[in-house]
Amino acid sequence: EAGVAQSPRYKIIEKRQSVAFWCNPISGHATLYWYQQILGQGPKLLIQFQNNGVVDDSQLPKDRFSAERLKGVDSTLKIQPAKLEDSAVYLCASSYLIDSEQFFGPGTRLTVL
């Protein structure tokens, strides 16, 4: 089966600009996750969707980050405006159900200058 798809793979922006990332989960997977992985750290969950509803967004910096999964399939994560500390790899993952194995995408590497 096709894996989790993410685009773009790389993005370089200047601080205060906006950026958006896209994720297409594995077909049939109801649960979708966005993680932020800063260099030298493990992935940190930003937001978790079950179908098109938010299950957990407790670590999402809501003043600048937003995410949506309108039709319960693909998802976008937006940062507006970006800060230097947002430089990281943004990982999308999906699972068939909550408590099922999470499958990760290749990630989007964001550099904020």
Partner: protein, 108 residues
């Protein structure tokens, strides 16, 4: 607070040597622990989870609730085991909390 600690950033061994990647966790509930692996230029992927009690690619990990540990072990390391290894703790709604990772280098 829930936390996962991997004390070693880098672990270097020679091929055929035993390997132990350390992981300690902090969680007041019933823990579910995982090991994820990321090979060079590949995606992060699940290696094993403690409830399955499987041996994957020769690796095993035993949950020790008394020591709050979930160390990953392999008796004889292979060069293809070289990768980044992350220990993760699942809490509440299947939220994963990752450690900072240990890079395993296996020399020929």
């Amino acid at each position: 607070a829930q936390r996962v600690t991997q004390p070693e950033k880098l672990l270097s061994v020679f091929k055929g040597a035993p390997v132990e990647l350390k992981c300690n966790y902090s969680y007041s509930g019933s823990p579910e622990l995982f090991w994820y692996v990321q090979y060079s230029r590949q995606r992060l992927q699940l290696l094993l989870r403690h409830i399955s009690r499987e041996s994957i690619k020769g690796f095993t990990a035993d949950l020790n609730k008394g020591e709050t540990s979930f160390h990953l072990k392999k008796p004889f390391a292979q060069e293809e085991d070289s990768a980044m290894y992350y220990c993760a703790l699942s809490v509440y709604t299947d939220k994963l909390i990752f450690g900072t990772g240990t890079r395993l280098q296996v020399f020929p």
